[in-house]
Every structure is written in structure tokens, then in C-alpha cells.
Amino acid sequence: MPKLKLSGVSKAYGATVALKRGDLEIDGGEVHVLIGSNGSGKSTLCKIVAGSVRPDAGEILLDDQPVTVSGPQAARALGIGIFYQELSLAAHRTVAENISLPDLPMKAGIFVDREALASRAARYIALFDGVTGDGFSADATVETLRADQRQLVEIMKALAAETPVLIFDEPTSALDRAQVDRFFDILRDLKAKGRSIVFISHRMDEIFAIGDRVTVIRDGETVGTRRIADIDPAGVVRLMVGEQDELAPPASAPPAANHTGAGSVLGVKDLSGRGFANMNFEVARGEILGFGGLHGQGQSSVLRAIFGATPPAQGAITLNGKPFAASSPREAIRNGCAYVSGDRTRDGVVHGRPILENVTPIHYLRDRLFLARPSALRDKALPALQALHTKFATLSHPINSLSGGNQQKVVIARWLIDRPDVLLLDDPTKGIDLSAKADLFALVRKLAEEGVGIVLYSSEDAELLNNADRILVFNGGQVTRELTGTERTRYNLYQAAYEAA
């Protein structure tokens, strides 16, 4: 009898289906690995189990009893604990307090029982004795700790709940080797005690080191469950890729020809900075260079560093053959560099302002304008918006009156009035509809044909495979593989992304 069983669980946000049909079966005394590519729905599945997301349909059985997990509190009461990927610690409180945060020991109903708090903390800190690093103690405040130490606190907090079912959503991302080994010892110990553990990780070596069974999710559907003993890493990748394996060149249109004769428009040599190291690549005029790999492996950081949005990195960048080191986006823009962020709400949209004002800022800067004459600006803005088939009532309507996809089109249109030499796309289609995506990539191709050098980072593998002439796969802040020509297959992409860094 499985400890926890999910069958046919689904969840949609509006028109976006996050999880189509999630099935998962976990026994007592096993470490069950959950794996799937970016946006496949595994996080949604975990959140449903943990009660922070309510499913639209499906059934959850705990000890063969149907249950409704109405919230995080209810999940704890049912005996389900979760380690969240996004750390959820109170920065100004001590390690001891954080470990007991969800369930502070009380005296007389109102006072925190200091002794119980300390002894409970000591118990879990002792588990990691010797690998916690300098400055780690029960009395240290969390804000003084390093990233790996914070992650340990988060793990201790999850362990302290002592729930029969434990979910770890990427618990090892910041840990070093010794810490991971100790953590795995603890997991084996818990397994021996009959606990059920769900483990999400993108590191193939870890999965094979600790897992008993693996369940693969693809495009919101559970594809299958295998015993780790019966499968190898290549087999897991094949499950993740599915039937459409050997898709090399895109079905839609061939990538723009690589104008090698025109020379490189952007050159990056030995570039290192926060979150990435030893970047070496060149982008030719008319080329679309793809950045692939798992989320947050340094792709965004590299693009933002080139654009001058983050503190300068070490290394050399050339733009049109000339040395280029932008200390601000302003400088980068003036030199013909363009950047589109996928987080339009934060980096792109000037909320509450007219569409026109959202299209013109780059034009102001590149043409060193002082006056904003509406009639002249309209003549510039309209063609740029039309090139993307942007739907809007009038230019003076606020940008917030548009759909997400159309807002992103407005943000992109601002780069079309004065043509850039290099266009950096940082996951530009996040959260926009399919037709907007199609319009966007049609434009990107056209820009490439006109000689713009393009770097495309996308968290959607299909977008990369369909549009990039060449793909650099990122893993742990480094480029671990370059895929060119017929190597650009989903299988190769996954294999490079998931292999141990």
C-alpha cells in the first residue's frame, strides 16, 4: 500500500495549464525522485501536495484515505512537510528560532519555551556536525549566514517537522560535496525509519546516488515511474525527451544563414562575474545564438552583465570589433546594444503610462531628444508596434490596458525605432500567449536577416531548438557544451543540462 498517492491531479491558471495529469505514488521507506524539464509541472505537483496550491481535479490518497489538503497548516497536520526552493527563513531571527518556526514550543500557552527551543535546535544541528562551516551556531542570526548555511537551516527546519512524508524541492543547489553527502546519510537514515521522501534535483549523479524510484514528468503529464536500479541516466533523459526525439532543425523555418563573412558583432572573452565564469563566445551578424540549460545557471547574469545592468564583470567584451564595457544600460544602449527581459513587470513596463511613452524611451536616448513631440513620436512608434502585430486601441491608452503578450510587444517595440546591432533576449516569452510568441520570433528572425546579432536565452527548450542557429548549454555558471547543426536535439540539450557540473 503506497503511503501517498496522487492520481489525475491537474491545475490550470487561466488558459495556461500548469499540470495536465499528475500521477505519483510514494511508498513508506523510499526516496522518490521527481524529474522534469523547465516548466514541466513538477513544482506545481509539489505545491499541490503541500497544500499551497489547490488542484482543479484529481484525487490525493494518504494511507489509502482520500484527503483534501486545504493549506500548508492542513498539510502539516496530515503529516506532510516541505522544503521550499525559495528559502522561507526569517532573516533577523536566530538559527534555533527558524528551525522551530512553524511550530514554536510554548510554555503556559503564550511564552516561547526557550529550553525546548534550544534542545530541539541542538538535535538537528548535531546531524550536520562538522559540515556546517564557520560562524554557524544555534544563536547566529540567519542574515549573517552564507547561502549554503541558510539552505542547511531550511533543511533542518523541514526535518524538525518530523512528518511521515517529506518533500525536498531542490534542497542541494547551494550545498558543497560534504554537506550533500551528510544530507544523503540523513535521508538514508529517515528511509530506514520508514519515512517517505520526495526528492527533486536536476543533478543526475545525485538522483542515482540517493533515489529508489524516479518519476518523470513531461509537459504537465506523468510519463512514467522506474526503479533506479533498472534505468541509467541516458534512459531518464530519453523519458524526459519523449517520442519527438530526433527533432533537429526546426519545422517552421530554417534558421537565418550564418553570415560568417560579416564577422562577429559581439565578442565575449574570458568573462567572469557573479553567477558565471569563463564565458567565451562570439555572435556573428545575422546569427541567433541560443543559451540553454536549466533555469538560473548563469544565462541571465551573462546577458545582464553585457548590458551593464549589474556590476562590471572581469574579462573583455567587444561590440562591432571595438572594446566595450558598459557601466550602465544607458551606455550599452548608446553603443547599439538592446536587452529584453522576460520579467516585463519589473524591468520593462512603465505602469500606468500611455503606450506611446512606453515605446519611446530608447528613441529619446539614441537620438538625444529634448522635446517629445507627439505627432513625430507617433510616426515612429506606429510602425514599430505594427511590426509585431501589437493590438491596442490608441497610443494614449495606458499600457496596463493591454494583455501580457501585447505589453511585452510594446516593450520590444521600443528597440525597433533605432535599430540595435546586438539584441539580448533574456527569456523574452515568459508568460505570454502562443500567438504573441509566434509574432515575436518571426520578428527576431527578420532582425537576424537584417544583420542584427541576437543572443536568445529561453527556458522553453522548444523555442531554443526552433530558433537558435547554435546553442550554448549552461551548467553551474559555465558553458559545458556547444550544440551546432544537427546536434541541436532535445536529447543532447537535456543530457548536457542535466549531467553533473
Binding site: P329, R330, D347, V350, H351, G352, P361, F370, A372
Partner: protein, 321 residues
């Protein structure tokens, strides 16, 4: 149905609300004290409103720039400017150009300090400008011990109180010009669009190449300059300068901006509404005086007005979300 909705939308615009309230308050004033809404009296109210409105222009710019932008030092700059102007002209028309130059320079300088503190040292505007107000108040005490208060030049007094064109004194025309310039600046210049951009989404503005710090410093400088201009006019209104004459402008300048539809969070609104807000506040103040409420009572009413306004706008935002 459609018309009703449009009417509702129209009636919800801050400018319309302010104008309706102005009419209502004038009627109320007339009822309380016949003659309150006479042409002569309304003209006097407009002159007082112009003084407040000029200070509020700078306040408006700083608030539009967002990131908790606010200038609490405007009152101090008004006082300082009135004293500098009084001493430089000392009752003589020939001293006016130098006085204007000196005051504007002083206002710009203190605004520059505010701007540098807020951008380079990352001091919150509330703290920075409150500190600057303290500095200015101390400075005023020192100045007053050393030099006489000074007198307004006749031409300046005439500019503020005597009819100049179409029966309106020069200060009203100055205010109208400032109103037109502000509308042009905010709506028709790149600088204006950049103010809205940093006020609405500073990160997006930065990513689009807006020199965020430079714009914000300019806003504080402009606020100092507007306060300095108001200080000169205030000298003309009162004849001679006395310390802390400008202190009364701090809170009302903020209220006028908020009344006019520019939220304290910045990024939207404009100066036309602020002008209406200034007129509204001056009428309110006048009514309070008419019914014999003293200065402390008026301050309480102003403070409460700001809180009620915040409540009103806060609710509006919550309902839209």
C-alpha cells in the same frame, strides 16, 4: 447607462472633485460670512493660492519622481529666500535682479544637497529633507541675529498685490505661466516623460537608459528653485521678511499635490490638479479663519485632511486591484 458611467468616471477625476469642492466651499463661505465670495476677496485668495501653488509645483515634481519622494525642506527655503531677498533689495527696485539671482541660486543649492543626499548617499527623502529643514531653521536663527530682516522693493509689492494685466496682479500671471510651463515640461519634453518613468517603475526606467539619479537630483533642485521664487513673492506680499515665514507651507504644499491627484507614491498625476488643490486649501483656510479657528486648529484640520485624503486614495487603489 453609458452616460451615467461616463459621468461617474468624470466625477471621479481629482481635478473635477477639487473644482466642485472649491465651488461648494465658496458657497459655504458666503453663507457664513456675506462678502466672502466677492470678486475682491476671491482675488485676494488667488494671490495667497499662487504663493502656495508655486511651492507646490516643486513639491509636485519631487513626489512625481517616486521612491517616497517628498520635500519637507520647502518651508525653510521659502523663509531663507524671503530673508535673502529682503536684504539684497532692501526696499529698492534696483536690487531686485540681484535678489532674484541670489535667492534662486540659494534654493538650487539646497535642492542640490537634498538631491545628492537622496541619490548618492541613499538617504530616504523624508529623512534627508527633514534634516535639511533643521539645518535651514538653525541657519535662519543665526542670520536673524546678525542682520536686519530687510524690506520688499515697491515694484515687488506691486507685482504681488496691484493689478497688472486684465485686472490681475503679476503674481497670478506668473502662476499661470508656471502652470503652462509645468504642463509643457511634464507632457511634451523627454525630461517630463522620464520623471513619470522613474516615478512609475524605476527599474524599468534604468533598463531603458534613463539617467535615474540625474533626473531625481534635478527634481530636488527644481523644488528648491520654486520654493525660492515663492519666498521672493512672499516678501512682496508681506512687505518685510521675518523668520519662519515659510514654515506654514510644508504641509499644505503636500496636501495640494495629493488633492490634485498625484499620489504620494508618484508616477502619475500632474500640476493642473495641484493648482486646483492649492486654491481649495486656501479657501478652506480662509473659512476656518472666518469662523475664528486659530492657527493650531487650522494645522489640525490640514493634518486630518491629508490623512482623510490618503485613506480615500488608498481605498481607491485597493478597489481597482
Amino acid at each position: 447607462m453609458m452616460n451615467a458611467t461616463l459621468l461617474m468616471e468624470f466625477a471621479r477625476k481629482p481635478l473635477v472633485i477639487a473644482l466642485l469642492l472649491i465651488v461648494a466651499l465658496l458657497v459655504l463661505g458666503e453663507a457664513l460670512s456675506p462678502g466672502f465670495a466677492s470678486a475682491q476677496q476671491i482675488l485676494r485668495l488667488l494671490i495667497v493660492a499662487a504663493l502656495l501653488g508655486i511651492v507646490a509645483a516643486g513639491q509636485n515634481l519631487v513626489i512625481l519622481g517616486g521612491r517616497e519622494g517628498i520635500d519637507l525642506s520647502v518651508g525653510g527655503v521659502v523663509s531663507l529666500s524671503a530673508i535673502i531677498a529682503g536684504n539684497l533689495m532692501n526696499g529698492m527696485d534696483s536690487g531686485i535682479p540681484l535678489a532674484v539671482l541670489g535667492c534662486v541660486a540659494a534654493g538650487a543649492l539646497f535642492g542640490l544637497f537634498n538631491g545628492l543626499g537622496v541619490t548618492l548617499l541613499r538617504i530616504p527623502p523624508l529623512v534627508m529633507t527633514l534634516g535639511m529643514l533643521g539645518v535651514l531653521q538653525g541657519l535662519l536663527v543665526v542670520i536673524r541675529q546678525g542682520i536686519p530682516s530687510g524690506r520688499a522693493a515697491p515694484a515687488l509689492s506691486n507685482f504681488v498685490s496691484q493689478p497688472f494685466l486684465f485686472g490681475l496682479p503679476g503674481i497670478i500671471w506668473l502662476w499661470i505661466v508656471i502652470g503652462v510651463v509645468m504642463a509643457w515640461l511634464l507632457g511634451r519634453t523627454v525630461f517630463g516623460h522620464r520623471i513619470y518613468a522613474i516615478g512609475s517603475n524605476e527599474q524599468a526606467a534604468f533598463m531603458a537608459g534613463v539617467p535615474v539619479k540625474l533626473v531625481r537630483i534635478a527634481l530636488f533642485v527644481l523644488s528648491g528653485v520654486f520654493a525660492a521664487i515663492a519666498g521672493i513673492c512672499l516678501l512682496g506680499y508681506s512687505g518685510s521678511s521675518f523668520a519662519n515665514v515659510g514654515e506654514q507651507y510644508m504641509l499644505p504644499s503636500i496636501i495640494a499635490v495629493v488633492f490634485g491627484g498625484t499620489p504620494l507614491s508618484g508616477g502619475k498625476g500632474g500640476y493642473t490638479g495641484t493648482m486646483a488643490g492649492a486654491v481649495l486649501l486656501v479657501i478652506l483656510q480662509s473659512i476656518l479663519t472666518t469662523v475664528n479657528i486659530d492657527e493650531s486648529g487650522r494645522q489640525m484640520v490640514f493634518g486630518a485632511t491629508l490623512l482623510v485624503l490618503m485613506l480615500f486614495y488608498g481605498r481607491g487603489r485597493a478597489m481597482r486591484a
